[in-house]
Assembly symmetry: C2
Homo-oligomer: 367 residues x 2
């Protein structure tokens, strides 16, 4: 399983410095996990993914279930071995994709009937099946099968959904046979009482970690932070807290400030594929004509291999010439940027200067 220790906290913030130990290494928190949806962080090989992360990445159960199929991954010795990943892995439950990608869903107590997001093939996923797939994949941390309703669902719908998701989490825990660490997922949208109900029901069931789901789904910044503000004092102190689907430099720092430990998001790599890079002074669109003659790196403060070697002008040229290397190099930089940001956040928590660090960083970032 896993162990988790909070090593340091400081006044004026709920930010925590922690240590998450898995069978495949120990990881400092707060930690950003790059997303390797289909058994690869998009465009990066395993060594690059390792250098651009702390060694813990996420893969998507839904995608791997459909391609190549979990039985094939299992036959190759599990996901770590299949993708030759020497670090640790977390798989999500598939729930998010069922609700965000697929069409014609029908939710029943037993599970969800839906159609393949491309082929239209009829599919079904239940809490037990999600666990079985995740057991076949063999990640170190796995997630409970949940419904992720839209943030603006009615109270009545959200209540029904949260209650079912709690029952699904219990069924998942019951079904699990492996020694993987299964996290519960707190849902409830913007409704504080439903969030509290969800968390307390999950805590009663007992999980080695708790995720906050149903955020970063299009709601406002204020609405999201309001949920975290209300929720974080109630989350168990000694368990890792995983905020799903976050994020960007700003959202990461604000969520760390609200006591979150683990994060994942496709944003850094997706942004890169659109030709934009994180820098100390904000997001930069490298395709812009203004960088045609720039012999500057993406970010003068960054020591990643892309910033050490390549200029903005060259990266712009690659993007304009539709050479995929451009997207690949910016993907690497963006992940490395978040890795470095998390390192600096952890150092600031340790020194007791996190609030000042956050303010200074965000002032520079938004300038």
């Amino acid at each position: 399983m896993i162990t988790f220790d909070v090593e340091s906290t400081s006044r004026g913030t709920a930010a925590r410095l922690g240590r998450l130990k898995t069978r495949r290494g120990a990881f400092p928190t707060p930690l950003f996990m790059p997303v390797g949806t289909q058994a690869t962080v998009k465009m990066l090989d395993k060594d690059e993914a390792m250098h651009a992360s702390e060694g813990l990445i996420l893969a998507n159960t839904y995608h791997l279930w459909l391609q190549p199929g979990e039985h094939i991954v299992k036959a190759h010795g599990g996901l770590h071995r299949f993708m030759r990943w020497e670090g640790a892995l977390l798989t999500d439950s598939g729930g998010y994709q069922v609700f965000s990608l697929s069409a014609q869903r029908r939710i029943e107590e037993e599970g969800v009937h839906f159609r393949h997001h491309r082929s239209g093939e009829k599919l079904f996923l239940s809490p037990e099946q999600s666990i079985a797939i995740q057991e076949a994949l063999g990640a170190d941390i796995i997630m409970s099968f949940d419904e992720c309703p839209p943030f603006d669902a009615t109270y009545a719908y959200m209540k029904e959904s949260v209650e079912r998701t709690v029952r699904w989490a219990r069924r998942g825990k019951q079904a699990k046979r492996s020694d993987q660490a299964l996290f519960g997922i707190v849902q409830g949208g913007p409704f504080e009482d439903l969030r509290t109900y969800s968390l307390e029901a999950l805590m009663e069931t007992g999980f080695p970690g708790y995720a906050v789901g149903g955020l970063s789904v299009g709601e406002s910044k204020e609405a999201m932070f309001a949920v975290l503000d209300a929720l974080h004092p109630k989350l168990p102190f000694d368990k890792p807290r995983y905020l799903m689907g976050v994020g960007t430099p700003e959202y990461l720092l604000e969520s760390i400030d609200r006591g979150m430990d683990l994060f994942d998001c496709v944003h850094p790599t997706r942004l890169a594929r659109h030709g934009a890079a994180y820098t100390e002074t904000g997001r930069v669109n490298i395709k812009s004509k203004r960088y045609e003659m720039s012999s500057e790196p993406l970010d003068a403060h960054c020591d990643c291999k892309v910033c050490r070697h390549y200029t903005r002008a060259y990266l712009r040229h690659l993007l304009k010439a539709e050479e995929t290397l451009g997207k690949r190099l910016i993907s690497y930089h963006n992940l490395y940027f978040l890795k470095r940001l998390m390192r600096r956040a952890r150092a600031a928590i340790e020194k007791g200067t996190f609030p000042a660090f956050k303010t200074a960083f965000l002032e520079g970032y938004k300038s």
Copy 2:
């Protein structure tokens, strides 16, 4: 400039072991040069391109003239510096692309009027301009601007074209101000007398290296080898011989056997983007269902980083899942495969066993 020495030859073959010295390193021949059309070998970063080559790669003048424009490359210190390439570079003249990619060509003595292969913009390229662009790019070896007529052009057309290409080569040499090594290109299609005329006229002008153009353009294997059989005894012994647009393992070995020293081709990387890999026992289509469960590497004899780390099943999954990493990894392997093949060919020439090596390799490859 460059120097070239033939270090070894052996009975029963025209194959030669040579050494090409440039300002940016010395290279053993026979040598395959990966193609980095738009200032990158497709999908590979500079370190991968270096590992998968001997350090000499090709870039395309036509593409770089249009994007980002040679003035931008020059302003960044030339092509080596722009793309952060620590090896040597060869640029072609742009002629091949003018004749293969663009529409509505009008060939005049002065040069060629044509339209941009995508935008339709009106463009003009002359021998002097090709040299000027190549001087701005700053490659170590540059090529004469030539017409590359279809292999099945009439004798009358080919004669007119070859004579003009010879005049263009002389104008290019006259125009050159740099100390780059400018190669002449022998044209003439299947016509032995025109090939001979072309070669002798170029030798009279005098170049530090001679390329054979107008082959590997769709003609039959027999037709191509017949041209090389007739031509190679007439090529100057002490100058490098560059066979343009070749090739595949088979064509490379057959052309080495016919006294050729340098080669370039997009085939290994293009093949990879179609999901196929070179192996000791022939070409393999990795997308095939038969590799779904294969824990074998692409090629059990290969020691490249892809074959050391990844299985066919994983590579197949990446291709099926449309993850670009799959194409990237196979691109690397295919280039490395040719690098290794060239090494083995050179070792065989040195030992005097090239004909036996060629026969044995091709028997295995076609099996």
